[in-house]
Each structure stands twice: as structure tokens, then as C-alpha cells.
């Protein structure tokens, strides 16, 4: 009996060590010649896209591992500042002040676009038009009924019921809330004064739910509800969404094309651009970039030139046609041509202690990764 006890306790104590030694053993043997890991951390919004594109990239590059920790944009920036990751990811670009606090010059590579859509549930209303100021008033509680004259006047012929509007917002801190409130701050002075912008706000009207799924669930199940949801989630679910009036005065449906079109404006060379309320006539107004941040000089810490080259290759792969196609497949809007060109120009500036990394690419790889756009840059 005693021996059995001793044996089991020994087993339990030693099990973790045994398992962990197994793990390291097998991974060492798997890695073989190249042992590299590219690590990144940051935004949660592009996580599903990064997950798939990194997996594809790992399949193409045997033995290479890409780790991505979706800890939120702020965490990604902090990790890059500490140099504990190879790249950071953020839904908001760094301000000049934030750039100064980083451990060296940082460049922003936009990887794809997303939007925030207004999902609603109203029986018999298949198409709904809204404007930014109207959304602001709905979420401020100033417009309370669906048949308010301000809504009916821009929706002629649509049977809007005498029903309370239930605005639905995010109860957790979220980049979606940030983008939504940023757009409303731009188009509505009252919103800017009363609510402002942020990942979490102090709301005036409506009810809250956690995450995109929570908001979508309540909107879908509640007659008269309207909520804002990340486009990548709403487009997958095929929710009924409102057409929004853009700056050119047109009512635009949220689609991958209209979100991509928001980037068809003059972009700054460093790609640090806000494209909410874009001037493009086909643009969906609540659209945004998401970025990957890397140090321009890749020679820091214990980094080898090979590791820097692998990072460059990964970024080029994400911008390449297969990488962008994956984005579209899971409802992230691909980058338009001009954005790609500016990205490539920025990547050409990447260097390893003065040696431009682009020069190290083989002809074949360059051609594979940059079918269109790179040579223009």
C-alpha cells in the first residue's frame, strides 16, 4: 500500500518534467537546420487573418515558426518597445510622441483594412440609410423612435415602425468602439463634446454586450435594436446592415470593396493615415487600417541578418496576392494598389545596420512576393 502511494506521488511529481522534456526533445529534432521563430504581439482585430496568413507562411517555410500573441494594440506596442517581439501590431498608428518613446525608428506597414458596420433588426425593413450625425443622436439617446422624422426623411418609402430604438454597444474595451467613436467624433461635434473617442466610453443610451458576438447576438434577437460590429464579424454572419452616408454624400453599403475604397485617397508616405470618413466617392465611411510595426534598423539585440530577412519575407508574403486573398476570404478588406506601393517603399527602407535588406532577396523570391506594385515603388 505504502509503496503504491509512493509510486503514484512520484509519478505525479515527475510527470510535468517528463512531459516538458519530451516536448523540447521533439521540437529540437523537428527544427533541424533553421531554428527560427518570428514573434509578434498586438491587436486582436486582425488576429483571425494573421492566424491564417501566418499558418500559410509556415507551411511554405518548413521549420520556421511565427508566434502571434493577440494581447491588444497597447500590449503589442509595449512589447515592441521592450524588443521582446520582432513585430508589433496595432489598430491605431503611433503618434509622433509615441514614436519618440520607441527604441529606434519604427515603420508602419498596413496589412489590411476593416470597417465598423451598423447592424440592425427591423421586421420588413430590408434597406436602411443612416448618416453619421444620426447615429450619434441615436447612441446619445436624442433620437428614440424608429419613425423619428430625421430617420424617415432619408428613408422614403420604407415602413419604419413606431418602435423604441435599442442601441447596443460593447461592454468590454474594444478597438471597434474606438473606431466607431472616432468616426462619430469626426462627423458630429456633439458626440465629440459629450462622448469623445476611446476603447471604452461612458454611454448615454442603450444596452451593452461583450464582444462582437455578444452585440450581434442581441441585435439579431431584438426587434428594433441597432449595434456597431466589426466588419470582419458582421460580413461573415450576413447581418442586415445600414447604408451610411459618406463624405461625398452617397449612401454606401459596407462591403469589402467599399471598405478598400476608403484607402483610395492620398496616403502619407509613412502610411500613418486615418481613413475614416474618406473622401473617395465609393468609400464606406467607417473604415480603418491595421498595421504591423517593425524597427527600420533590424540590427538590434541578438538579431542575426537571417532573422531580419525572415521577418521581411513574412511581411512581403502578407502583402503578396496570396496573402491578401486570404484576407478577403475571411472578410478583411485587401489593400488597394496605392497602399501596397507605399508599403513596399517603406519595406525597401528596412536595413540591417545600414545594409538594405531588400538587396538580400533573391530574384525569384522578389518576383514571387511582389508580383505587382513593388517595382513601381
Amino acid at each position: 500500500m505504502k509503496r503504491l502511494l509512493l509510486f503514484t506521488s512520484l509519478l505525479f511529481v515527475s510527470l510535468p518534467f517528463f512531459l516538458s522534456s519530451c516536448k523540447t526533445g521533439s521540437s529540437d529534432s523537428q527544427k533541424g537546420t533553421s531554428r527560427s521563430t518570428i514573434s509578434g504581439a498586438g491587436a486582436t482585430f486582425p488576429y483571425p487573418y494573421y492566424n491564417i496568413v501566418f499558418r500559410d507562411f509556415m507551411r511554405l517555410n518548413e521549420g520556421l515558426t511565427v508566434n502571434y500573441g493577440a494581447m491588444g494594440s497597447g500590449g503589442g506596442i509595449r512589447s515592441l518597445r521592450d524588443r521582446s517581439v520582432d513585430f508589433g501590431a496595432s489598430d491605431a498608428f503611433l503618434t509622433d510622441k509615441e514614436l519618440e518613446t520607441m527604441n529606434g525608428e519604427v515603420i508602419h506597414i498596413a496589412t489590411c483594412l476593416g470597417g465598423v458596420v451598423m447592424a440592425y433588426t427591423l421586421e420588413g425593413v430590408e434597406s436602411l440609410r443612416l448618416t453619421g450625425p444620426l447615429i450619434s443622436d441615436i447612441f446619445l439617446g436624442n433620437v428614440k423612435k424608429w419613425n423619428d422624422p430625421r430617420i424617415t426623411s432619408i428613408n422614403p418609402g420604407i415602413p419604419l415602425p413606431n418602435l423604441d430604438i435599442t442601441p447596443v454597444y460593447r461592454s468590454d474595451g474594444s478597438g471597434t468602439t474606438f473606431n466607431f467613436s472616432e468616426y462619430l467624433s469626426v462627423v458630429s461635434p456633439e458626440w465629440n463634446r459629450v462622448m469623445g473617442k476611446g476603447k471604452a466610453l461612458k454611454w448615454e443610451a442603450g444596452i451593452a454586450a461583450k464582444g462582437n458576438p455578444g452585440v450581434a447576438g442581441i441585435v439579431q434577437q431584438t426587434e428594433g435594436a441597432i449595434g456597431y460590429i466589426g466588419s470582419e464579424y458582421a460580413l461573415t454572419l450576413n447581418l442586415k446592415t445600414a447604408k451610411l452616408k459618406n463624405r461625398a454624400g452617397r449612401f454606401i453599403d459596407a462591403t469589402l470593396e467599399s471598405i478598400s475604397a476608403a484607402a483610395n485617397v492620398d496616403l502619407p508616405d509613412d502610411m500613418r493615415a486615418t481613413i475614416t470618413d474618406s473622401a473617395d466617392p465609393n468609400a464606406y465611411p467607417i473604415s480603418l487600417f491595421t498595421w504591423i510595426l517593425v524597427y527600420k534598423d533590424q540590427q538590434y539585440g541578438n538579431r542575426t541578418k537571417e532573422e531580419a530577412m525572415e521577418l521581411l519575407d513574412l511581411l512581403l508574403y502578407m502583402l503578396s496576392p496570396p496573402g491578401q486573398k486570404v484576407a478577403a476570404q475571411i472578410n478583411y478588406a485587401p489593400l488597394p494598389k496605392q497602399g501596397l506601393e507605399k508599403n513596399y517603399r517603406l519595406l525597401r527602407g528596412l536595413h540591417y545596420g545600414g545594409e538594405p535588406l531588400f538587396d538580400g532577396l533573391t530574384e525569384e523570391k522578389l518576383e514571387n512576393r511582389t508580383e505587382d506594385g513593388a517595382d513601381g515603388g
Binding site: 505504502k2 491588444g72 497597447g74 418602435l163 423604441d164 435599442t166 461592454s171 468590454d172 474595451g173 474594444s174 469623445g196 476611446g198 476603447k199 471604452a200 466610453l201 461612458k202 454611454w203 442603450g206 444596452i207 451593452a208 454586450a209 461583450k210 447576438g217 442581441i218 434577437q221 431584438t222 428594433g224 435594436a225
Partner: protein
């Protein structure tokens, strides 16, 4: 030797429990210090403002404390007639019969249903009824969460009450009957007074359960960060605000959420302590 070993193992296990509880309290206190330093303990508890915007950041627990007490006490109120009648059914009228054991096992089954299932049931089945009753346009709020909470705590209140009602000595009841009392009079004059502290303890324990309930309430209360405007209003409880906002929180907000957790911990501890004291009084009598 074997005996000694066994004693040692028991002692060790008990010690671990104590250490764990102490560790929980320590980590709650140490991580909420930022908030209490910023606002003071009373300042934090008495402030109804919850503003997570960076420019005007301000955190207070009052709206969640009120939301919690509001839903829990209203749930308790709704649950009393149901659980009391179940207790009388099982402990007095049909004591020891097959029907009683069937009813009590069904009621006990209610306690075993995971709270997310209650949440889903409330979301899909009870909410349309609440909307149809005209409580408010979207159904969410204090009213809906209290109804679902009430059903969740019925087994906690009724099973203990049943115990105490069936423990009322027969000779007391028989004495009353022999004096010509009706059954209702026996229940009112004999059973209830004798079992009263046990019944009260049962309801206090049920209240403690309602205070801490998280998942179902989070799905049903509407999650608005303000004092509920009334039964028709939406709000947030201490548990639900933590569940909602913990994920992305950092800095002072994180510290404030942990402080709310600490307050909830203390409130439920006090509630349980009161229940224990009430029950002790009963055993003395």
C-alpha cells in the same frame, strides 16, 4: 506510522485551504490598493460614476453595488412564495411520500443546471415574455435578471427550509391538533415559529448565491454602467461588470475591478457569516 501519516496528510490539506484563502484575500487587497489610494475606501464605494475614458477617468462602485443588491433582493422576494410552498409541500403536507421525493429531486436538479444555461433560457424564452408584458422595449434589465435569478435560487432556499420544517417535533404539532387547531393554524403557530431561524438562514444563503451569480446576470441585465432607474431599467452587478470589462482592462480600471471583486467577496462573506450565526442560534434553542 500509517496513522501519523494520515494525520499529517489531513493537516496538510487543511493548511493548504487556509493558505489559499489567505492568498486570495492578499492578492485582491494588494491589487486593489491603487484604487483605494486614489479614491479612498468610502470614496470608491459611494461614487456612482464609472467613466473609463482616459481624459475623464473616474471609477466608483456604487452603481454596481446598488445593481447587485437590487437584483438579488428582488430575486429573493420573487423566490419566497415558490420556495416556501415547496418546503411546506415536502416538509409538512407530503412529508416522506413519493411525490415529495420526486418534487425535491426535481428542485435539486434546478441547482445543478449551469448558470449559462439559465442565461440562454432567459435570453431566448423569458425575454420575449418580458417584452410582451411591456416592461421595456428590449426586455433586458433588472426585472428579467431577477426573475431568472429567483428560479436559480429556489433550490437553495427550499431544500434547507424543507429540512427545518420537517424537523419540527411531532409532539408539538400533535399537541396543537389536540387543542383543535386546523392545519393552517399549526403551520402558522407551530411549524413556522419553530423552524423560523432555519428558514431565515436558508434565505440568507440563497441571497448570497444571488449576489455572486455572474454568467446568467451578465447575459440578461443589459450591462449599463449606471444605477438602475428602477425595475424596468438596465444596470450592472458587481459580478457582471467584472465579467464584462476584465479582459481589456489595465491600470486604474483593472485595479478598480479587482476592488469591486474584493467588496463582493466581503459582502458574501458577511452574508454567509450571518446565516451561520442565525443557524447556531437555532441549534442552541
Amino acid at each position: 506510522m500509517k496513522d501519523k501519516l494520515f494525520r499529517f496528510a489531513l493537516f496538510f490539506a487543511a493548511l493548504i485551504i487556509l493558505l489559499l484563502s489567505a492568498g486570495i484575500i492578499y492578492s485582491l487587497v494588494s491589487r486593489s490598493l491603487d484604487t483605494f489610494n486614489e479614491y479612498g475606501v468610502w470614496g470608491f464605494i459611494s461614487n456612482a460614476e464609472w467613466d473609463p475614458r482616459k481624459a475623464t477617468e473616474e471609477y466608483g462602485a456604487l452603481s454596481f453595488i446598488i445593481g447587485t443588491l437590487y437584483t438579488a433582493f428582488f430575486a429573493l422576494l420573487i423566490c419566497i412564495p415558490f420556495s416556501l410552498s415547496v418546503a411546506l409541500f415536502n416538509g409538512e403536507y407530503f412529508k416522506g411520500t413519493k411525490v415529495a421525493s420526486a418534487v425535491s429531486s426535481v428542485v435539486d436538479l434546478l441547482a445543478g443546471i449551469p448558470s449559462i444555461v439559465y442565461g440562454l433560457w432567459g435570453f431566448y424564452s423569458v425575454r420575449p415574455i418580458v417584452i410582451a408584458l411591456g416592461v421595456n422595449a428590449q426586455g433586458f434589465g433588472v426585472f428579467l435578471s431577477s426573475i431568472v435569478l429567483a428560479i436559480m435560487i429556489i433550490p437553495y432556499a427550499s431544500s434547507l427550509s424543507t429540512e427545518f420544517i420537517s424537523m419540527v417535533p411531532n409532539n408539538m404539532k400533535e399537541g396543537a391538533y389536540s387543542l383543535g387547531a386546523t392545519r393552517l393554524e399549526v403551520i402558522r403557530r407551530i411549524s413556522f415559529p419553530t423552524a423560523s431561524s432555519g428558514i431565515v438562514a436558508a434565505y440568507i444563503l440563497a441571497l448570497g448565491r444571488a449576489l455572486g451569480e455572474t454568467m446568467a446576470v451578465t447575459m440578461l441585465i443589459g450591462n449599463t454602467d449606471r444605477i438602475p432607474s428602477g425595475l424596468r431599467g438596465t444596470g450592472n452587478t458587481m459580478a457582471s461588470v467584472i465579467a464584462n470589462q476584465f479582459g481589456e482592462a489595465d491600470g486604474l480600471k483593472l485595479s478598480s475591478l479587482i476592488a469591486i471583486g474584493l467588496i463582493l467577496f466581503i459582502i458574501t462573506a458577511i452574508i454567509n457569516l450571518i446565516a451561520k450565526m442565525v443557524m447556531k442560534r437555532l441549534t442552541k434553542v
